[in-house]
């Protein structure tokens, strides 16, 4: 008997999901809750009907000002945010911009965040031992010659550059003397002589400035690693008991190519980079995650739907657009709406030069004109059939 009801419930729930009466998350919750109770078919039907009714009541109505509600819901908690820029985020050694400055950065869709950061997860064989994790970290971290050298200087007497390497630093970064020498040879700027931990670059020239330029070049010569990743920190995540790399600097496109990196979970906080490598939908997800992360970290409870709306708007044109003059607000079709936002005169002038039209469909332009705004009740318009009038006109004429 109970089995029968169970089957009935399953069937009905599947039907609801298929016909999109209720979203999958609610159906999942229902299924879980219902399995805990013994109910009759009649009770089940009543429950379902009540839930559908409640769900429909909770939906946003057509013409509701969701954008304004979202703006207020993010704006008000925003006033309580600390203006403090830096805060540690899981890793004490890394500073990451958080709070209001970071939130502004996200909605402004800055090309480069002030503190780019990556979270790199590793594949199974690397994630369980620190040694293996360090191997990958050394591969990723950008190492310049100056990072492994004790001293780099110009030897004026012999017209050469002297590089004294630090064995400890080299071991730490996983660099060998031969590697450094090899890299210097590729530069083709003189003869390379290796003596233990000292490398000489012989340069037959009398000009001092030339030597100085070469010195600068050698200092910044990249031996290994990925461009942009200036620091890597290895941390053990308690929950999953695995080693994870956190980096200062970000270069998603290159990092995911490194063998041993778990591509599927590796993330960056650079939205544009994600848009380029993983596509616009992934960028939308990053915007949501980053914005929610900032708000949560500050202990502010903002409904994710507001953030999702912002992210949807920012990615609607297929590329990441900022909310502001150069993005969403600056590209509104209405002249008045644009003029009401920023640089009023410029917009009015340009519109008049081009002979632009304003069809007065938005909110701002109708407020300016002094008309009812097309929201809520105002989103309805009255149309009249003119058939009878035509008939009348026809008969009289």
């Amino acid at each position: 008997m109970t089995e029968n009801i169970q089957k009935e419930i399953d069937k009905k729930l599947k039907e609801l999901q298929k016909n999109k009466v209720l979203p999958p998350s609610i159906i999942e919750q229902l299924r879980e809750k219902l399995s805990q109770f013994k109910i009759t078919k009649k009770q089940f039907e009543r429950i379902i009907n009540e839930i559908i009714k409640a769900y429909k009541l909770a939906l946003v109505e057509p013409g509701e000002a969701v954008g304004t509600v979202a703006a207020q819901s993010i704006g008000e908690p925003g006033t309580q945010m600390t203006l403090r820029t830096f805060h540690y985020a899981g890793v004490a050694e890394l500073n990451v911009t958080l709070g209001l400055p970071r939130l502004i950065e996200i909605v402004d869709a800055r090309r480069n965040p002030s503190t780019p950061m990556m979270t790199i997860y590793l594949e199974e064989e690397y994630r369980n031992s620190e040694e293996k994790a360090r191997e990958i970290a050394q591969k990723i971290e950008m190492t310049k010659i100056e990072n492994v050298a004790k001293n780099i200087e110009i030897d004026l007497v012999n017209k050469r550059i002297l590089i004294v390497l630090d064995p400890e630093l080299m071991k730490n970064k996983g660099v060998k003397v031969e590697e450094v020498a090899e890299r210097l040879k590729k530069l083709k700027k003189g003869e390379i002589i290796v003596e233990d931990n000292v490398i000489y670059v012989e340069r037959k020239t009398e000009k001092l400035p030339e030597l100085q330029r070469l010195l600068e070049k050698i200092r910044n010569l990249q031996i290994k690693g990925i461009k942009g990743i200036t620091r890597v920190v290895i941390r053990k995540v308690k929950e999953t008991n695995e080693y994870v790399l956190y980096t200062e600097g970000s270069n998603l496109a290159e990092v995911i190519k490194v063998p041993g990196v778990d591509f599927a979970r590796t993330k960056t906080n650079n939205i544009h980079e994600v848009a380029e490598v993983l596509g616009i939908e992934a960028a939308r997800n990053v915007i949501i995650e980053e914005a929610m992360g900032v708000l949560e970290e500050q202990g502010l409870d903002v409904d994710i739907r507001h953030i999702m709306l912002v992210a949807d708007l920012m990615t609607a044109t297929g590329e990441v657009k900022q909310i502001g003059r150069h993005g969403v607000s600056g590209e509104k079709p209405s002249v008045f709406a644009r003029a009401a936002f920023e640089v009023t005169v410029k917009h009015l002038l340009e519109a008049s030069l081009r002979g632009e039209q304003d069809i007065l469909r938005g909110v701002a332009e109708n407020v300016i004109i002094g008309q009812e705004i097309p929201l809520g009740t105002g989103s309805l318009e009255l149309l009249m059939y003119t058939l009878r009038r035509k008939e009348e006109e026809g008969s009289s004429g």
């Binding site: 591969k139 591509f263 993983l278 616009i280 992934a282 739907r305 590329e319």
Partner: protein, 83 residues
Amino acid sequence: MDKKRKKIDIFCHELVPKHELLSKEEAEKLLKKLNIYPEQLPWIKKSDPAAVAIGAKPGDIVKIIRKSPTAGETVVYRYVIDK
């Protein structure tokens, strides 16, 4: 760095939802149901990595099945633009 390069399927990534290409008939049916022009949908560039991966061309409509924290799963559509 190792010379070996991994082959990467972006749809494996946590952040990338499932993308599907709509057939001509499906696209027409959708537009009729929503009563809109295709340009009124959100856009996706034809050079977008996800669009490239499923072979979408300008004028196509891509169906995206997102994992949503509120609804569990939602379906959205994007119109492929020439850019």
